[in-house]
């Protein structure tokens, strides 16, 4: 009995194993597509399952999908497309079948599509495009293409199109909301800055009233205390300015009013303003550079950049240290001037160097480092330099010091003429030249003080001229001493004479100038431009060249006919 049972069991096992092997072979054959139909015996007799259309369940799936799906031939002809894709194009599905898919794309996307198909035959690709809709509008879609095998014709493409219009709409909404927020922030900051300035102006005004002795004589101690108040008020003012400036930069609202800047004068002015701070800390502050170098920049901005960089250098250099400002033509870039501010302070580590120009970055990440400021200065510098089409960077060795460098475009006459030539896009009627020929009085004092006098004169000319209409040109040096200053004014003969008159009066009023120099002020029209309502950029450039030529002639003639 026992052995009978064992045999039966073994036979049963072999039978089952054989059935399993058969089933496995069948399954594999089905997977490989070698089986067209399957007959399965069961209690109700044999049933036949046809496998000719194995993708049927997938078709149902495809029809129900929220994405558009299509099968394309290797040439890009639509062999199958689901309801959704048809709906996306606005055509009935039967009009889609047999059409080249590329014809359903909008004009700009068509050229790239065959390439996309070729790529898809090698690996899956994704791309964004626009479907052409029946009503002439376009639908942004993401297209995913992958290779499939088609029974009839070998290779083909399975294409899935995802509607991106929702996403595009959401992105647009996000952008608008961000703009709105930036504007709100800008308004808020303007408001805050206004509210802060009002009391600050009072502190400033009363402090200077006391300091100027308007309400009585002060003791040295009292003056000292008031000086500290004034200094703090000025610091506060700088911070408010920085805050507002940053908000403006973020909102893309920074404006630069370019003119000709004598780089040496800007550096000298910045150093003059910081001389006191340097002396207090016992830091040696020096400058060295090319005295004639002119840059085409906004003088206020140049000063702002310099004050910021030199101020920083002083802040991070210990007592007894050394800060030097150098300026000259940028090596390898003759169209640019290079300014460097070098200190032998604590230096900046490499990871920090990469971040110092970021907003609100302060070394150590903390404001409690004993250094006042908001950490906005360098970020502002970077924005200002780049709005002048220059570059700014830092080199440093921790413990040895840092060198901050920036470049600014070198001045040329043509570059600066456009504010004089045009007003709101239309050409001005005339351009005039006011020449101030100044010679030191023949006294030793006057000759010795000439560089001071000429600076004073230049300042006076800048004060007399209108920033958006007139340009004070750099002086032409003449031998032995004395020089010709010129203002190019966007005005006609009578306007120019008025300006000349104003300069004469101002010079007479200034004691230092009237004591030390003799000056002749004259005006002339250099070009009467014909009316051009909307001059092109080329028109303005051509006229600028012409005027530049006339100006240099007039100035040479003047200094030549001494």
């Amino acid at each position: 009995m026992k052995s009978q049972c064992g045999r039966n069991l073994r036979a049963e096992l072999e039978h089952t194993q054989a059935r399993l092997a058969e089933l496995e072979a069948t399954m594999n054959a089905i997977y490989r597509g070698e089986v067209d139909a399957l007959a399965v015996g069961g209690p109700q007799g044999s049933r036949i399952f046809t496998l000719q259309n194995p993708e049927e369940p997938y078709r149902i799936l495809a029809e129900r999908m929220s994405e558009g799906v299509a099968t394309l031939s290797a040439e890009g002809t639509i062999l199958f497309c689901n309801q959704r894709l048809a709906k996306m194009t606005g055509l009935p599905p039967e009009r889609m079948l047999g059409a080249p898919f590329v014809s359903k794309l909008c004009e700009e996307d068509r050229a790239g599509f065959p390439g996309l198909v070729q790529l898809a035959l090698q690996h899956n690709v994704r791309s964004e495009g626009h479907l052409l809709q029946e009503n002439e509008s376009v639908l942004p879609v993401q297209l995913s293409l992958s290779r499939i095998l088609l029974q009839e014709s070998g290779e083909g493409i399975c294409l899935v199109a995802t509607d991106l219009s929702e996403r595009v709409r959401a992105e647009e909404e996000l952008r608008l909301s961000r703009e709105r927020q930036l504007r709100l922030k800008d308004e808020l900051l303007s408001h805050v800055s206004h509210e802060l300035r009002t009391p600050l102006a009072c502190i400033h005004q009363f402090t200077t009233i006391l300091l100027d002795g308007i309400s009585g004589e002060l003791t040295a101690d009292q003056s000292g205390v008031l000086e500290i108040i004034l200094k703090s008020a000025n610091q506060l003012r700088t911070m408010i300015d920085d805050l507002l400036e940053t908000a403006r930069i973020e909102a893309g609202k920074v404006k630069v009013a370019r003119s000709c800047v004598v780089l040496q004068d800007a550096v000298r002015e910045a150093i003059q303003m910081l001389r006191g701070t340097a002396a207090e800390k016992g830091i040696d502050l020096e400058r060295e550079g090319h005295s004639e170098l002119l840059v085409y920049a906004d003088p206020r901005r140049v000063l702002q950049i310099l004050l910021n960089l030199i101020g920083n250098a002083l802040k991070f250099t210990p007592a007894g240290g050394h800060v030097e400002v150098k300026y000259g033509v940028a090596p390898g870039e003759p169209g640019y001037a290079l300014v460097t501010v070098e200190d032998d302070g604590c230096g900046i580590s490499e990871p920090v160097q990469a971040r110092v120009f970021e907003r609100l970055y302060q070394e150590g990440g903390s404001i409690d480092q004993g250094h006042e400021g908001l950490g906005l200065g360098l970020a502002i510098c970077k924005e200002l330099v780049s709005s002048h089409k220059g570059k700014i960077w830092v080199e440093s060795q921790p413990g040895k010091g840092s060198t901050f460098s920036f470049t600014l475009p070198v001045y040329s006459l043509e570059r600066i003429l456009s504010p004089v030539l045009t007003e709101n896009g239309t050409l001005r009627r005339a351009v005039s030249l006011i020449l101030v020929r100044a010679v030191p009085k023949p006294t030793t004092a006057a000759i010795e003080q000439w560089s001071r006098t000429r600076r004073k004169l230049n300042e006076l000319l800048c004060r007399c001229s209108l920033p958006d209409k007139d340009v004070v040109l750099p002086s032409v040096r003449a031998q032995p001493a004395g020089e010709t200053f010129a203002i190019l004014a966007g005005t006609d003969a009578s306007g120019a004479e008025l300006l000349a008159q104003r300069i004469r009066q101002q010079m007479k009023r200034c004691q230092e100038l009237s004591e030390n120099c003799v000056a002749q002020v004259s005006s002339q029209v250099v070009r009467a431009t014909q009316e051009l309502e909307t001059p092109t950029k080329e028109d303005v450039e051509a006229i600028a060249r012409e005027v530049a030529c006339a100006v240099s002639q007039a100035m040479n003639m003047r200094s030549g006919s001494r």
């Binding site: 303007s190 800055s193 206004h194 509210e195 300035r197 009002t198 009391p199 600050l200 102006a201 009072c202 502190i203 400033h204 005004q205 009363f206 200077t208 009233i209 100027d212 308007i214 309400s215 008020a233 003012r237 507002l244 403006r248 609202k253 404006k255 009066q505 101002q506 009023r509």
Partner: protein
């Protein structure tokens, strides 16, 4: 020649006191208005030699005051110097275009402010050159 008369239009009490001290010390006579409406009335009545104008004012913005001054035959030649805590951007160009002689943001550099006042007064002949 009598002292030039300056109308200070300023709504901040402390600032008015400060400006009064400074202008008096410089030898000017001062009159005051604290809002846009009274500013116009005082200006018409007193015909100052110069107006120092704040922009943010109750009862009539500074620009409105400036327009009224500019459009009045008696006052159209009176120089107006703007002294405001408002932003330079936008306001300066607008003020100069509206006929302001100069624009200063608070806190202003006193030397430059006093210089502009003096120049403006000499320009109209209210101060001997």
């Amino acid at each position: 020649m009598s002292k030039p008369k300056i109308l200070v239009i300023e709504d901040d009490n402390n600032m008015r006191i400060a400006l009064n001290m400074r202008l008096k010390a410089a030898g000017y006579e001062t009159i005051f208005a604290t809002d846009g409406l009274s500013a116009t009335i005082v200006a018409f009545k007193e015909v100052p030699d110069l107006v120092l104008l704040d922009l943010g004012l109750p009862a009539g913005d500074g620009f409105v005051v400036m327009e009224r001054i500019r459009n009045n035959a008696k006052l159209c030649c009176v120089p107006v110097i703007v002294l405001t805590a408002r932003e330079v951007r936008g306001n300066k160009d607008r003020a100069l275009a509206a006929g302001a002689y100069a624009f200063f943001q608070k806190p202003a550099d006193n030397e430059a402010l006093m210089d502009a006042i003096e120049r403006a007064l000499k320009g109209t002949g209210a101060l001997a050159t």
